[in-house]
Symmetry: D2
Subunit: 140 residues, 4 copies
């Protein structure tokens, strides 16, 4: 199964369909069943103590799986998250961007499941992990 | 075990510690191990199709459990989410506020666990459910 | 929506389709979108220290949601669990049976979501909570 | 950080502390923060249609993370699971053993988090994935 949308196509889709969030995210890498997205951390993403907020990390995990699904099935705006489990394991490094990498573990006709690891750039131990399930709308 | 912070005290705490998000949330009700928070839905919370975004619902669930913990243990800014599972079950009703109710199922010395149901105001079937674990920092 | 299988019908179904586990479980109560199941705790369910094993509690949560789904849709052996999140919050009471109560939060055409609370009989604080998603096979 | 218990030491511990389950599991490989465990599938693990039961896969995931924690911290019987999220993604292959591989993502003083992938032997797509959190009792 080959990639149907590359980083440029995914970025254009994100800009068109999600104008309110697309500027937070940079698509770093797209491969078969694997996508990496960068969050350029800014002050509005932070909580007291300088940590990136939980909702920001959820948002990063969510968009990364979404893009990994779209990369394989092509543009469908209406795929929706049905479930997420997320573990926050360490405080992100101060001043570092976050990098989220999704591996699609399942890409069925109706459901897709993706695992995400989030790292502070340059730090080997992960900040967070998440698994998300997307319900895929019927084609056409 | 009695409530240590009422709605007024929790709102003041939220405003002081989380200035970037407090205006989204209204604390509707505080009781022993149970808190209800309203999200006044605005355009910036929406996704294509008029649905409230996943990160917005995550954020609502997260703050509701946080406030339910603080209501019982008193103000400690550094309690952190360690885990969340969330199920998105229905599209929220157009134009309705969201109401999240947390029940604390566990309030231990180190860990607290809260269950959250999110409803569109006036609609009986829940939009989402979540369970969050908070790590509680040692006192003093 | 009314109940299609009562406790007697569900117990007969369980005995026929799951002969290896049915004797562990007693169906205590069946109502619209709500089922309570008892686990008569025996030595084979225990771990060192006298606690009921995690897999035993998972099994109890799983069967309780399954029965709550079947009670509403009628007998279909092939509904499968796609996702579970479970929190183990307290040690069960020594020598007490476990009671699991499921509320179905969603009963869609393709997916059902149920919340479960597990208590030691007679103890108000829950031992565990779980949420399970079932994929429902097409009818006929 | 080096491995404190190898496969032989872990197997002896499992046999001593968990006599009722140890014979199901074979420890295939132990490395720093990574353990692989085989479940020799037998009739008692199966459900109608020949699939391995959910509780059996939960049990395999649970024991694999437990052994990965013990491999690093040494023998402590009282580490307990506090949380698990598990996704069942495909039917296991008929007649094949299951192999579970855990990577420890966090090994803190109080909490450990491990990710598990479960495969049917010889099949590249995973059958299930799970993440478990263990609470680690204080030493001594």
């Amino acid at each position: 199964m080959s990639v149907r949308m590359d980083a440029t196509a995914l970025a254009a889709f994100l800009e068109r369909e999600f104008p309110q969030v697309h500027s937070d995210f940079v698509i770093e890498r797209v491969a078969e069943r694997e996508v990496t997205v960068r969050l350029a951390v800014e002050t509005r993403h932070l909580r007291p103590g300088g940590t990136v907020s939980g909702p920001t990390m959820f948002s990063l995990a969510d968009v990364t799986v979404y893009l990994a699904v779209l990369a394989m099935i092509g543009p469908r705006a209406l795929a929706v998250t049905t479930n997420c489990s997320i573990d926050f394991m360490r405080k992100p490094a101060n001043g570092a961007d976050l990098l989220a990498t999704c591996r699609l573990l399942k890409l069925g006709r109706l459901l897709a499941v993706g695992d995400v690891l989030i790292h502070s750039e340059g730090v080997p131990d992960p900040v967070a992990r998440a698994t998300l399930t997307y319900a895929i709308p019927p084609e056409g």
